[in-house]
Subunit: 212 residues, 2 copies
C-alpha cells in the first residue's frame, strides 16, 4: 500500500489547537486504519513550495503516492473512495454521503465559520449585517436539528460526511452556539466519543505542543 503523508503546520497559536483542519484528515485515517505519517511546514513563513501544494497557503494537504491533494473536503472524498469504513461503495448510499459532505461545508460551515470570526474577535456590535449572519446560522441549525433528531448519523452508517459535519459543529459549540440545538450537541458528543476522533485530537494537540 502507498504511503500516505499528511502535511500540517509545525506550530499554531493556542487558540486554534484542536481545531486545525488536519484533524478531519487524521480522524478519517484513524477510522479507516490507513497507515500514514505527519510532516510539517512552517506556520510563520509560507513559501513557494507550500503554495504549490495548497494555493491559499493553508493546511492540510495529503500526499498519496505521486498525488498531492488539498481542500479537506477533497481529501475526505479521496479517502472515502479508499475505504468502506468512510464511504459505502453502493452508488445511492455513496451519493447520500457526498450530499451531506457538501452540506457540512457549503450549507453549515459557510454560515458558522464567519460567525465564529465574530465570536473570536469578541465583537458584540449588533449591526444589520451581523443580524443577517446570525439569522443565516440560526436557520441552518434549526433545519439540521430536525434532521439529527431523527437519525444517528447523516447518511446511513458513520461516514466522511459525519467527520466534516461534527467538526463544523464542534467549533460552533466552542462559542456556545449550540445552546438551542440539543440534537446537534448529542450528535457532536456521539462523534467525538469515537476512538478515532479521540486519537486524532490528542495527536494534533501533541504535534503542536511538541513545537512550543
Amino acid at each position: 500500500m502507498t504511503d500516505l503523508i499528511l502535511t500540517t503546520f509545525d506550530w499554531v497559536p493556542e487558540m486554534p489547537r484542536g481545531y486545525v483542519r488536519d484533524l478531519r484528515v487524521r480522524w478519517a485515517l484513524e477510522e479507516a486504519g490507513l497507515p500514514y505519517r505527519v510532516e510539517s511546514v512552517p506556520f510563520r513563513t509560507r513559501g513557494v513550495e507550500h503554495f504549490s501544494h495548497q494555493p491559499f497557503g493553508q493546511v492540510p494537504w495529503l500526499t498519496d503516492g505521486d498525488r498531492s491533494i488539498f481542500e479537506s473536503g477533497a481529501i475526505l472524498l479521496h479517502l472515502g473512495e479508499r475505504s468502506d469504513a468512510l464511504m459505502p461503495a453502493d452508488p445511492r448510499r455513496r451519493g447520500e454521503v457526498i450530499e451531506w459532505l457538501f452540506a457540512a461545508l457549503n450549507s453549515v460551515e459557510m454560515a458558522s465559520l464567519p460567525w465564529s470570526l465574530y465570536r473570536f474577535a469578541g465583537d458584540t456590535e449588533d449591526t444589520p449585517g451581523r443580524q443577517g449572519l446570525e439569522r443565516f446560522l440560526a436557520a441552518r441549525l434549526q433545519h439540521l436539528e430536525s434532521v439529527l433528531g431523527g437519525r444517528e448519523w447523516l447518511a446511513g452508517g458513520f461516514s466522511i460526511a459525519d467527520i466534516a459535519m461534527a467538526d463544523v459543529l464542534r467549533l460552533i459549540d466552542r462559542f456556545d452556539g449550540l445552546v438551542d440545538s440539543p440534537a446537534c450537541r448529542d450528535y457532536v458528543a456521539r462523534a467525538t466519543a469515537r476512538p478515532a476522533f479521540v486519537k486524532a485530537h490528542a495527536d494534533q494537540l501533541a504535534h503542536f505542543a511538541a513545537a512550543d
Copy 2:
C-alpha cells in the same frame, strides 16, 4: 437516457434573480448538452415534500431517475461523472477538478457569501468582526488572483470547478469586491461569455419573470 429534472423556486424577489443556485446546475446541463426540464416549488411556503428533497428548505435539487440530489456541489459532481465536457475521466485530472470544486465552495464562497450579506444589508459599520471578515475574503482573493493570472481555467480545460468558482466570483463582483483582482474579473468575463452560461442565465431570469 434518463430524464433529468431540475427543481427551483417558482418565484424569487428581484435582488437574487440571476444569482439563484439553480444557475450552476442549468449551466452545467447546458455545457454537457444533457436534456432536462425545470420544475418549481413555492418560494413562500416550503412544505414537508420540499424538505424531503432539500433538508435546509433551499433550492436547487436534481432528480435523475429514482435519485434526488441536493447541494449544488454534489449535483455538479454528479453531472461531472456523467459528462466529459464537465470533468475529465483521467483520475489525476478528475482529482484536480474536485479539489478546485471544494476550493470554490469552502475556501472562497465561505468568505464571500457572508461578506455579501453585509453589502446586501448596506451595513458599513467598521467593527472588529467585520474587519476579520474583510481580511478573510481579501486573503483568499489575493491567492486566487495569483492562480488565475497564470491559467485560463482552474484545472486543465473548463470544468464544473469553473462553474462553481465563476459563479462565486460573480456575486463578489456584483458588490464591487473584485476591484483589486483584475485576473479574477477577466476569468469571470471569460466564463460568463460562454454560450452555456448566457443561455442558463437568460433561462433563470425568464423563469422568475414568468411568475410575476
